[in-house]
Amino acid sequence: MEDKELTGASPEQEDVGAVKIADEVVSIIAGLAATEVAGIAGMSGGLVGGIAEMLGKKNLSKGVKVEVGEKQAAVDLYVIIEYGSRVPDVAIRVQENVKRAIETMTGLEVVEVNVHVQGISFSEADKGEERVR
């Protein structure tokens, strides 16, 4: 896990110490903020995420890639949306929620939040048979 040291402390606070935030922390914040948004069914983790889940490890940063610098962060989210949701609307809410969560909790400036929709999730009610008229 790579830690990033924030160096934004003012001169008079330098003796207080440094704040270090692990990349995984930013990933988890982003993942939780994304899944809070209505219309998001879950995060898409790929093969590595699948292996981790099979071993019983709950992966809160599944489907999230972050690039964290000294003062900025960029996030890529791989999501699955619920059937019936409009992707542009859901994606905008995800971008806003993730950006707000990271900036509030870490103080990092979020320069971009890219949302990649990997699939659509159907509930049982959505799978009913339709008739041709």
Binding site: G50, M54, R86, V87, P88, Q95, V117, Q118, E130, V132
Partner: protein, 179 residues
């Protein structure tokens, strides 16, 4: 992660577990090697072991392919803004339209291919139908539903819609037996 990859991964892990247990048992001396020798001598010429090994090899290659290689996923760029970009995998949209079509009475074995042409989406749908299906009505229905779904979900208009009926299947008739 696709369902088939999860199943393959589970099988692969069980087989690997068995190999690991065997290796531990042999190397730790729990089972004397001389007791294993007659068993090992029986291995050459056993076609079922060759088959099992080939299957395990194929599973391993499939997992490697899924993890590190394969075709690059076709992406649809939906929107860009100062906050970032929004993309969607085209095969997710294709799966959506396939599911919609399969749930239509009289329509079976659907395959959909979507391509972006300028600012619109082009849909190519191949399917089988049952004998009672009215093709003109079904094609109108499927086209309208595809148009609605694409416009609602990703905000793209439907351009060209090509429908190819590959054949007639008797599946429904076989299921509905008269008692």
């Amino acid at each position: 992660m696709r369902l088939i990859d999860r199943i393959i991964l589970t099988l692969h892990m069980f087989i690997s577990l068995a190999f690991a247990v065997g290796l531990i048992v042999l190397s730790s001396g729990l089972v004397p090697v001389d007791k294993m020798t007659p068993w090992l001598a029986m291995l050459p010429g056993r076609w079922e072991l060759v088959l099992g090994g080939a299957i395990f090899f194929a599973l391993s290659v499939r997992l490697l392919f899924a993890a590190f290689g394969g075709k690059k996923a076709r992406q649809l760029l939906i929107a860009t803004s100062d906050d970032g970009a929004v993309t969607m995998q085209l095969d997710a949209l294709e799966a959506l339209l396939e599911s919609m079509a399969k749930n239509t009475r009289g329509v079976k074995r659907v395959r959909v291919r979507i391509e972006q042409v300028e600012e619109k989406l082009q849909v190519n749908m191949r399917l089988d139908v049952t004998p009672e299906c009215s093709l003109p009505e079904a094609s109108r229905w499927l086209k309208e539903r595809a148009r609605e779904q694409l416009l609602h979900i990703v905000g793209f208009e439907l351009g060209r819609f090509d429908l190819a009926v590959r054949g007639i299947t008797m599946e429904d008739k076989q299921k509905n037996r008269v008692e």
